[in-house]
């Protein structure tokens, strides 16, 4: 029982300390290898790039070492050795080596994922490690590595492989290694130890602190602090530690190597490296959620305060203190709005992260299917809410895999078609208002309308005599049952599970559209809101109820002219110069309002939905316009299409937030493809 408690604790710690950073490093590495792949194709491999990769792997190794994940440390170590040889020019970078690097990275990804899931690694990675070691050059302990024999065996025994390596590295760079022995009272030794380490900070790099209890010294604890000193030597360290019960012993280890290593620019570990390479702070997302909820709560409290002061001013219009209070409350509300926006912004992350992961997929999938593809990314600096990002990965993976499987042709086919041998896949993102638009484009075969038509007919989605327009064909590929009906790669070249992709994008209040030029390529355009948490909304009234409608989804607001309202079949439409607009009664989709007070025709409509599929949502009137925090409604209620969530406008009642695009699309879905 106690042990499992401990295990859980350990897992939590790993999750917190190790996983986020490891993931970041691996993602960055994936991007680096992609770059290497590209430069290898043009035969321009820069040693600086390999150096960057080397340093990242080194950081990962250190991280894994600290987390006690031996298998990852070992693999990273072997990988690092290979990179070192590449960096020193002792091994040439050739495609098989790159593949080996990718395999090693993939194995690391797997190991880290296993750590995330189980808290440990069971993978040994011996095959990859074997290949890494066999790839030429000396093994981990090369013949000319500096000997650590001069080191006190008791200290040496306590060093991890990583620490030993660090030590060797320092020695190779000709830096001084010093052992500081501290003799401290057994009880309450911590302050003095802390003090000593604190004084060393910045002056020397602490490799390890090894405690020992020597016989005959009851009541005291000895510590050996193994440090690599910077510019300052042992004397200066002794000076720093003056007043502490410390003895400073420089370690005499003959430098085994000539200056060869140093001349080629070895990686040096300076204080900069030890700081960690990120200036950001990792915060659990749940904490940001709480923060946002608390800020929203505060805004609501401020709103009711504002109402109270407004009433007070009405009652005492002459009272100066009341006017001042009102002014103060107004300023408070404005600052709270800024705070709220900051709380939302804190959840945003650059898309680069997802793009990097997709890059990893591209390299591997392309190779597996015998294709050659370059991935280009643009606009990775655009930001998205963390929750949105997480849920966007899987649809994007789907689109990228789809482009590789069915879009990009094999090299020979491309050459025969007069295209470049290597295919081109572009992921680009840009911001449009409070939405982000992500394009996944390939320069492959494109969508062949006749092929889509044939497939739709044979899977019963289309009548035998129906002919699809180009636009209809691009819609058809998203229809459920279109792609799952069988293999489509030879037919349309498109469409595995695109209905699933569309559904997940819609769940994110986003849209996806395809466009294509036959034989030249296809582009999927995904548009999602930056965040689902805070949106500009129009507050409207319908049958005694209020609804919030995100402004981003509204195309226009109409004041209706009763003479242009008509009924076509069972549908109400409104005649606009550009054609009739389908109307939707909120009552019909959101039943439960008060009975109408009069039989007057509806006076306003909010127009939403894509061009050609727009609908006008009938409302009784406009209440206001404000930024709202969209809260999820519980899982008992969230399945209703057209509902984005709920919000509190400050009067302690919930107001439903509509998703007009889903309302418009929902109306449309029934007739798609008929």
């Amino acid at each position: 029982m106690a042990e499992s408690e401990l295990d859980r604790h350990e897992r939590e710690r790993l999750k917190r300390d190790f996983l986020p950073e490891a993931e970041e490093i691996l993602d960055a590495l994936a991007g680096d290898l992609r770059g290497l792949d590209r430069s290898l194709a043009t035969e321009r491999v820069s040693p600086a790039d390999i150096n960057t990769i080397f340093r990242r792997v080194h950081s990962l190794k250190g991280l894994a070492g600290m987390a006690g994940l031996q298998a990852i440390t070992d693999l990273a170590h072997d990988l690092e050795e290979l990179l070192d040889r590449l960096r020193m020019g002792r091994t040439a970078l050739a495609p098989p080596v790159l593949e080996l690097l990718e395999d090693a990275l993939e194995t690391l990804f797997r190991m880290v994922r296993e750590v995330a899931e189980t808290g440990a690694t069971s993978l040994e990675a011996s095959a990859v490690r074997g290949r890494l070691r066999a790839s030429g050059g000396p093994g981990p302990c090369g013949p000319d590595a500096p000997s650590l024999d001069a080191l006190d065996p008791a200290i040496r025994a306590a060093l991890s492989e990583f620490q030993e390596h660090r030590l060797r590295e320092a020695l190779e760079q000709g830096r001084a290694v010093v052992v500081i022995r501290l003799r401290l009272p057994g009880e309450g030794f911590e302050p003095a130890l802390k003090e000593a380490l604190g004084r060393l900070h910045g002056e020397a790099e602490v490799i390890s602190t090894v405690p020992s209890a020597e016989p005959g010294s009851e009541g005291t604890l000895n510590f050996a602090i193994l440090v690599v000193s910077g510019a300052a030597g042992a004397a200066s360290l002794a000076e720093r530690l003056r007043g502490l019960p410390a003895a400073v012993e420089p370690l005499e280890i003959p430098a085994p190597r000539g200056a060869a290593g140093a001349a080629e620019g070895p990686v040096t570990l300076e204080a900069e490296d030890l700081k960690g390479f990120s200036t950001s702070l990792r915060v659990p997302v749940a904490r940001l959620d709480d923060l946002l909820a608390q800020v929203a709560d505060l805004s609501i409290a401020a709103a009711s305060l504002a109402r109270a002061t407004a009433r007070a001013r009405e009652a005492h219009p002459e009272e100066r203190s009341v006017r001042e209070a009102e002014q103060g409350v107004r300023e408070l509300a404005a600052r709270l709005r800024t705070l709220q926006r900051s709380a939302v912004d804190a959840r945003l992350m650059p898309l680069e992260q997802v793009f990097g992961r997709l890059g990893r997929l591209v390299a591997r999938t392309a190779r597996a299917s015998g294709k050659e593809v370059d991935l280009h990314t643009l606009g990775g600096e655009n930001e998205l809410d963390k929750a949105m990002m997480d849920r966007l990965v899987s649809p994007l993976v789907h689109l990228v895999a789809n482009a590789l499987d069915h879009g990009v042709e094999p090299p020979e086919e491309r050459l025969a078609a007069g295209k470049s041998r290597r295919g081109r896949l572009v992921l680009s993102a840009f911001r449009r208002g409070n939405r982000v638009v992500i394009d996944v484009s390939d320069d492959g075969r494109g969508i062949v309308v006749e092929a889509v038509q044939g497939r739709a007919r044979s899977s019963g989605l289309l009548g035998e005599d129906r002919v699809l327009s180009r636009q209809e064909a691009y819609e058809m590929i998203f229809a459920a049952g279109f792609s799952t009906a069988g293999r489509v790669s030879q037919v349309s070249g498109r469409g595995v599970g695109l209905d699933v992709v569309r559904r997940s994008i819609r769940a994110l209040k986003g849209t996806i559209e395809a466009r294509s030029v036959e034989r030249q390529g296809t582009t999927f355009t995904v548009t999602v809101p930056i965040t689902l948490a805070l949106v500009q909304a129009l507050i409207v009234r319908s049958r005694g109820r209020r609804f919030a409608i995100p402004v981003a989804s509204i195309r226009e607001n109409l004041r209706l002219d009763a003479s242009r309202l008509r009924t076509v079949g069972r549908e109400e439409v409104y005649d606009l110069p550009q054609g009739p607009l389908r109307l939707l009664r909120l009552d019909a989709v959101m039943p439960g309002g008060a009975p109408p007070e009069d039989q007057d025709p509806p006076r306003y409509a909010v127009v939403a939905g894509a061009p050609g599929r727009a609908v006008g949502i009938l409302i009784d009137g406009f209440v206001g316009h404000q930024e709202v925090v969209v809260k999820p409604i519980g899982r008992r209620l969230r399945d209703l299409p057209g509902l984005a969530g709920a919000t509190d406008l400050g009067d302690a009642t919930a107001v439903l937030v509509l998703d007009p695009e889903a309302l418009a699309a929902g109306e449309d879905d029934g007739r798609a493809g008929v």
């Binding site: 946002l292 009664r585 989709v589 439960g592 899982r635 008992r636 209620l637 709920a646 302690a652 919930a654």
Partner: protein
């Protein structure tokens, strides 16, 4: 999951339709005064709607419906027992919270058939003090709704138009 053998030690007691009920205190976040929630179309019967509470939304469930008791009179006061359930907040509407009781010293007994409750599966038994019974509710089951009810879930999708104009 907690071992079934462990007895709840502290209970929140409340009244609905003149009867005494109790639930385990541990899962309760707070008790708030009832205000009319915003109805959500397409919800299960028994789900009254949603109420905002400190920046979050509480799904409000009518205990009377879930226990097959007669509906509350519209204007009568009520309270909402707010519970955390898988990270979401769920509120159970009761007539009045009466207090906190310790379960120790009180005998927990199986539900006597003579009580004639409509949905015996949502009870964990009764606590008896002299001639008085307090019905011990299995909160999770009450909130989940009945199995029979699950089958008649409101089907998704928009309702037919309610015939406004013409």
């Amino acid at each position: 999951m907690a071992a079934p053998a462990s007895e709840p030690d502290r209970l929140l007691t409340f009244a609905i339709a003149g009867r005494a009920f109790a639930v385990d205190l541990a899962s309760i976040v707070e008790v708030i005064r009832y205000r009319p929630p915003t109805p959500v179309p397409g919800a299960d019967p028994g789900v009254e709607g949603i109420l905002p509470l400190r920046g979050r939304m509480v799904t409000v469930i009518d205990a009377r419906r879930r226990l097959a008791l007669p509906a509350r009179e519209t204007a009568s006061p009520a309270q909402v027992i707010v519970v955390r359930e898988d990270g979401e907040l769920v509120g159970l509407v009761v007539d009045a919270v009466t207090g906190v009781a310790a379960a120790a010293g009180e005998a927990r007994e199986p539900l006597p058939g003579a009580l004639g409750v409509s949905r015996p599966e949502v009870y964990r038994g009764v606590l008896r003090r002299g001639a008085e019974y307090t019905l011990l509710l299995d909160l999770e089951k009450v909130l989940q709704g009945g199995a029979a009810r699950g089958a008649t879930r409101a089907d998704e999708g928009p309702r037919p138009p309610s015939g406004g104009g013409a």
